[in-house]
Symmetry: C2
Subunit: 339 residues, 2 copies
């Protein structure tokens, strides 16, 4: 068994238990439905509940592995890991409303089951619970460190909302540059991964320079992950990704290959501006034009460069022991995945 | 000048300044619109900006007056007052989406100006900022007290979302009892007022029994306020309230007179069940049936009893000095208002 698999087997159940204990606070006399919505969304109840409905729990693993790799005791960081995962799931409930996403992890989204008003409100409850989870670090974690961790989480939400604001705005904008794209990804994807790894260093009471290195590792991991995700969204193997590779182009998402392709003002840009919406039949020609205009090679090169930078950033942080090895394995797996 | 007016003149500008400093964090490179949305909602920018667009800032006043009346230094509590008002305003942004409210304080709501997706996201940003404001109590407030205050705020959000969940659910339910109604109001109205007065006592480092008394005062103030608000929504003077007294009945809101009236199974219940939606012409007859069935006298009696209880709860807390006097004036004004 790899070091990662060994840690996963211990850490994931501890995080699930901590999340469930916090989410149970949403129960109240005369109102069980709010709690039901949240346990459904978290993959614990309702049709299709189970590991597949829960996602990979990458963020809490990053918190706990970073804590251990930075010399701390991961058990003490479990409330922070639970907080990060609850926060991620709050943002998914709201994102699904904002993006009109009807399914997530193969199940109907919260808003399609309970309607938009209750789903907005349920997301708000989960946001509060994420922060409540973080405050439970203390005790045994000291109160100063608990406050610092809570501030990191809240500032991350602000970054998330800035990124999400840009993402929503870009839908209606034609002139989105590669710089605009990265500004959005910094908030939408990188901020929470950076917070996850930084929280590990903070809870291990690492020095400021180590804390910065862990932050940078999480951030670069997020940027690299997003570049590969955009790549796979067009040129991935649909059989492996489990989602259609025509989706991103049909939905006219402003992904990295698309914003790069548009800037080339070639065949892809001409086709893109000519028709909306694109039909499934048009997608192969669009993808081919993107490749001809250099966007496939560009995205691959950028993703490969960011992957190297993320792995180098991890070495900068000098992760220790089995947890350090597990962190390397996790990063490599996230960045070399085919799905 | 009354003690209340004197405090207001000092406290309100201090709170506005603290709120603005925190909200400025929503600005980021390449994204000014998120900040613009929030300053618009808070009544600081855009068409119709000014004191009338800001609301009465009752909650921060309650925090600061409670701090002073419990023997503390109100200047140190300003971040908590700002936090409570920012939190209240976050909940308004989301409530307006959930209730399809098109105007607030005489101006178009955020979602009507920017659309639902950006409005949900802007509310989330304001929620984060409210908590960030609270963390700024420290220093000079000690870190333990800052953590307690932050926990109070977050648990209040959980109560708010429980109340809001019930409120949304009741729209589609016919059998809402008076008990159901109070369960909703405890969360939706009373929780944040209770948190405001309790925070004052916490920041004044008052004893546990005093803290409980301040909590109870805020809670009863909220219940009494809601009962009067429901009364005025049907029998108030439209010229004074600035809103139509036909609105609550036309929108079929489950207010206290309505849930009481339905339980009587008389003329009002018959008319209520007969037709939906009600036309403006039907409203006077509905209001008259409510009165005949005893709901007007009942609501008046309940509101008067809750008002006495709220004022008695305040005396239990033994509020001190000019701030104590100002707190009495504020409570009386909120509960004896005609608008």
């Amino acid at each position: 068994m790899t070091a990662l698999a060994n840690f996963q087997q211990q850490m994931i159940p501890a995080v699930e238990e901590a999340m469930q204990a916090v989410v149970d606070r949403a129960r109240s006399q005369g109102c069980t439905e709010l709690h039901t919505m949240l346990t459904y969304h978290l993959g614990w109840s309702g049709e299709g509940a189970g590991p597949a409905a829960r996602g990979k729990r990458v963020r809490p693993l990053l918190v706990l592995l970073s804590t251990a790799a930075a010399g701390g005791e991961w058990h003490r960081a479990v409330p922070a890991a639970a907080a990060v995962e609850l926060l991620h799931n709050f943002s998914l409930i709201h994102d699904d409303i904002e993006d009109h996403g009807e399914t997530r992890r193969g199940r109907p989204t919260v808003w399609t089951k309970w309607g938009v008003p209750l789903a907005i409100n349920g997301g708000d409850a989960l946001f509060a619970l994420a922060n409540i989870a973080m405050l439970e670090l203390y005790p045994p974690v000291d109160v100063e460190t608990t406050l610092i961790a809570t501030r990191i989480l809240l500032q991350t939400v602000l970054r998330l909302t800035q990124g999400q604001h840009l993402d929503i705005s870009y839908e209606a904008r034609e002139n989105v540059s590669v710089d605009d794209y990265w500004r959005m990804v910094e908030g939408k994807t990188a901020a929470l991964l950076a917070a996850s790894t930084e929280l590990g260093a903070v809870l291990a009471k690492a020095e400021e320079s180590t804390r910065r290195a862990y932050h940078e590792f999480g951030r670069m991991l997020g940027l690299a992950f997003q570049a590969w995700d955009d790549y796979l969204g067009i040129w991935g193997d649909a059989a492996l990704t489990g989602k259609s590779t025509t989706g991103d182009l049909m939905e006219r998402k402003k992904t990295l290959p698309v914003v790069y392709g548009l800037a080339q003002e070639g065949e892809f840009a001409r086709r893109w501006h000519a028709g909306e919406p694109h039909t499934p039949e048009e997608v192969p020609a669009l993808a081919h034009a993107l490749e001809t205009d250099g966007a496939k090679a560009y995205t691959q090169a950028v993703a490969a460069r960011l992957t190297s930078q993320a792995l180098a950033a991890l070495e900068q942080a000098q992760p220790q022991g089995d947890a350090g090895q597990a962190l390397r394995t996790l990063a490599e797996r996230l960045l070399q995945r085919q799905n």
